[in-house]
């Protein structure tokens, strides 16, 4: 184990740490758990408000650290109450949200396809059917998602999807040349 283990980390100290992977960050120690060898740091120590980054770092990855200063205990022990139900609710909400977002991701599709899907979804109702993009429930666009792959639906809808697809492809080409 590297030397980090043998040190006593005092709560509230502000450290600048460099990891073995090359990452560097600063933060204020919230706690250090010896059994699991986890150091909990709070970054953005000077920032007010609730938006601070929290880092749980495995101490054995610490290559080097510098003590920048000492601060107060960032955790106000009087306020440390855990509201389990609300946390549960929060998690559920987050999961739901993530699921919704995941819907838009095709399974086993290329990222090019995913980009096209995202572009189409901006203006048209789309969903995945395996690796086929289904637009407006009627028009299907299959791999490799070129205008000629557009099939189905009324002629008008078909035309519209073709056009949108062309334009989106052009735009994607401009943004990331060489990929499309």
């Amino acid at each position: 184990m590297d030397g980090a283990n043998g040190e006593e980390f005092a709560v509230g100290c502000i450290l600048a740490i460099e990891t073995t992977l090359g990452d560097e960050f600063e933060g204020q120690i919230i706690t250090y758990d010896r059994p699991s060898n986890i150091l909990v740091l709070q970054e953005g120590a000077t920032k007010a408000g609730t938006g601070r980054n929290l880092r749980l770092l495995k101490a054995n990855y610490i290559k080097d650290f510098t003590l920048l200063g000492r601060g107060e205990d960032p955790l106000d022990l009087k306020k440390c109450y855990v509201d389990l139900p609300s946390i549960q609710a929060r998690e559920e909400a987050a999961l739901r949200q993530a699921e919704v977002e995941a819907e838009r991701i095709g399974i086993g599709v290329t990222s090019e396809a995913q980009s096209i899907y995202d572009a189409l979804s901006k203006t048209l109702p789309v969903y995945w059917d395996k690796t086929v993009i289904v637009v407006m429930k009627e028009v299907r666009v299959c791999s490799p998602y070129l205008p000629e792959n557009v099939s189905g639906g009324t002629p008008a809808a078909n035309e519209r999807v073709k056009k949108v697809l062309e334009l989106e492809r052009k735009r994607l080409q401009v943004r990331s040349p060489g990929q499309f």
Binding site: V40, L56, K58, L75, E91, A94, G108, T110, D118
Partner: protein, 625 residues
């Protein structure tokens, strides 16, 4: 144990070394299998976490606390090979090793492959991932909330859907950097577009013709459908010339309105201070009539400056002051400083008195024929005719009146301006409206020559009233020039010319404002509720509901009844149509005051007028009709 349940058995931890989903679906299936057995609810057994080793109680507790706080939040886990997995923190094993479980997790940065994400990297569906302790390097929770309070607040904040949340910006790719458009080299045709409208009215280009040529579109446009048909007769040419002249005059006028100036191509030298916003977008706020005043003031000042130079103003002002102090009767002074114009009828009466008074005091130079005060009375009638005053005439008068100060009834005097009018002229209340002379006439100033009689007043014995008295309310002309007549150095001034401005110093009063005269017939102003309590009803009107007036003899009482509920909350808003406007509005009722006591005042059933007085700080912006 609870803890263990959440985490797959250690033995299979190795199997989860592949927590990073491979391209192959096989691994994915393994993961799926594994996580299906997990309970969806977070495992809060952590809170009961065993204290391995016994020591580090408080520290461990803190860790547990933090981990609990993190549940449900999105975290990024950095693993040994450099990959970053993002997911929702579900649970962790706080025992000896620190393995975490992330739900809906996916690899967002692949550490094993250096460089960009491969082109044909397939997109993975997020799933639950377990990161064993030995793979774990760190867990990063962005914007983590550590206390329950914060969490609630944040959740409440998240409940407010903002546009960016709704539109899912993370789906949108970043737009490219915008560059300013630079026309290409080989775009020659566009040059035509620039000068096609150079001529303000180029009759050479017919849009309909062009359209038809280019696109074959036949137009049915008939200009006369939308505008008056021009009679193209023999007079046409002359009319056109006249119209152009007038147009030129107008466009050439000096203006201090920045927008107008810009249109006309006049650029102020101080314009650099104005940024785009004040030039094109901001609302310019000035007092009522202030715009006119400002324009006129500056306009006249400009003229004055042009003709007399800078020193003139001060000189005249000084002389004004002197004379004023000597001669001005309180009335005239008051009136002179009073910038509000009054009804015409009032003015002449006052002025006449003043004028006659003045003539006693002042010996006015009569360079030319100056109309005597006796004639003044007649002027009133003629005043309506006096309209325009040419600039040259003004100049003449100014020159002559230079030494004279004309104290004039206020009406016409515009206190701010230093007006060269030194000649006391009979006030012509009906005022001669002074139209701002066109600029091209400014310099025409034949000395000693009486230009329009109308203008110079003194000039002709025609008793043309000097139009110096300018009705301030009349807008355009203003002030002062009043000058009108007056030969400063000359002989006795004829009071026929009305004198304009008195004080040379600028005052804050608005010379164009009409003098406030109580109009008993005016509609009452309904103040806001906040004013209601404090305004004693002075004479004014006050409207009450229809039903109240139905019982005449019970007037007072019904008033009371009606008023109580009606006006308890706010002022009456219903006007009783059957009530005739009150001629002498002395009756008033305080809505909150004792009503019965004032029955006597009410007398006949008639509408009571209630006009609240305004707090001092509230300027009366209404109009008296």
């Amino acid at each position: 144990m609870n803890l263990q349940q959440a985490v797959p058995p250690r033995s299979s931890a190795n199997g989860f070394g592949r927590r990073r989903v491979d391209r192959e679906t096989g691994a994915r299936m393994d993961d799926n299998r594994m996580h299906s057995g997990k309970p969806t609810s977070p495992n809060f057994g952590l809170a009961n976490g065993s204290k391995v080793g016994g020591v580090a109680g408080p520290s461990h507790d803190r860790l547990i606390y933090i981990m609990t706080c993190l549940v449900g939040q999105r975290v990024e886990v950095l693993v040994k090979n450099g990959s970053i997995i993002s997911g929702i923190f579900h649970s962790a094993n706080a025992d000896k090793d620190f393995g975490v479980v992330l739900k809906m997790a996916q690899v967002i940065k692949d550490g094993s492959i250096k460089g960009q994400k491969p082109f044909n990297d397939t997109v993975k569906k997020p799933q639950t991932m377990i990161i064993p302790s030995r793979e774990l390097v760190h867990i990063l929770a962005k914007d983590a909330s550590l206390s329950s309070d914060d969490g609630h607040a944040r959740e409440k904040r998240n409940d407010l859907l903002i546009d960016s949340v709704i539109s899912h910006p993370h789906h949108v790719e970043v737009e490219r950097e915008l560059e300013r458009w630079i026309p290409d080299e080989d775009v020659p045709a566009c040059s035509e577009l620039e000068n096609i409208f150079d001529g303000t009215w180029s009759r050479k280009w017919d849009q309909f013709e062009t359209n038809e040529t280019l696109f074959g579109v036949k137009s049915t446009f008939n200009e006369e459908l939308y505008t008056t048909k021009l009679e193209k007769g023999p007079q046409m040419r002359e009319l056109e010339i006249e119209a152009s002249r007038i147009a030129r005059e107008i466009e050439g006028e000096e203006t201090h309105d920045h927008h107008l100036a810009e249109e006309r191509g006049i650029y102020f030298h101080e314009d650099f201070d104005l940024d785009e916003e004040s030039r094109y977008s901001a609302v310019r706020r000035e007092a009522d009539g202030g715009r006119y005043e400002e324009n006129e003031n500056s306009f006249l000042d400009a003229h004055n400056m042009e003709t007399f130079g800078d020193s003139f103003g001060s000189a005249v002002s000084r002389s004004y002051s002197e004379v004023l102090s000597k001669q001005v009767s309180s009335e005239s002074l008051a009136s002179s400083t009073c910038l509000s114009a009054d009804e015409d009828s009032q003015i002449p009466a006052d002025k006449d008195a003043h004028v006659s008074g003045f003539t006693d005091h002042v010996t006015w130079p009569s360079s030319d024929s100056l109309v005597k005060s006796s004639l003044f009375m007649d002027e009133k009638n003629r005043l309506d005719d006096k309209m325009t005053k040419d600039q040259d005439a003004e100049k003449i008068l100014l020159n002559e009146c230079r030494d004279r100060i004309i104290s004039e009834e206020a009406q016409t005097s515009k206190s701010e301006d230093v007006h060269p009018s030194t000649h006391l002229k009979g006030l012509s209340p009906s005022a001669v409206t002074y139209d701002p002379p066109s600029s091209d006439q400014i310099n025409k100033c034949p000395a000693g020559e009486s230009s329009d009689s109308a203008i110079s007043g003194k000039l002709t014995s025609a008793n043309e009233a000097v139009n110096t008295s300018l009705r301030p309310g009349c807008s355009t002309s203003s002030t002062s020039e009043h000058v009108g007549s007056g030969s400063v150095s000359g002989g006795p001034l004829s009071p026929s010319s009305s004198v304009g401005s008195l004080s040379s110093e600028k005052s804050t009063l608005n010379p164009n404002a009409k003098e406030f005269k109580l109009n008993p017939n005016a509609k009452s102003f309904m103040p806001s509720a906040s004013l209601r309590q404090h305004t004693p009803a002075s004479d004014g009107s006050f409207y009450y509901a229809n039903n109240i007036s139905a019982a005449p003899h019970m007037h007072g009482i019904s008033m009371g009844i009606g008023i109580g509920p009606t006006f308890g909350g706010h002022h009456p808003v219903v006007y009783s149509p059957q009530a005739a406007p009150l001629q002498s509005p002395q009756a008033y009722i305080h809505p909150n005051g004792p009503l019965y006591g004032q029955q006597m005042i009410l007398g006949q059933p008639r509408p009571l007028y209630y006009m609240p007085t305004y707090p001092a700080e509230m300027p009366y912006k209404g109009r008296n009709f």
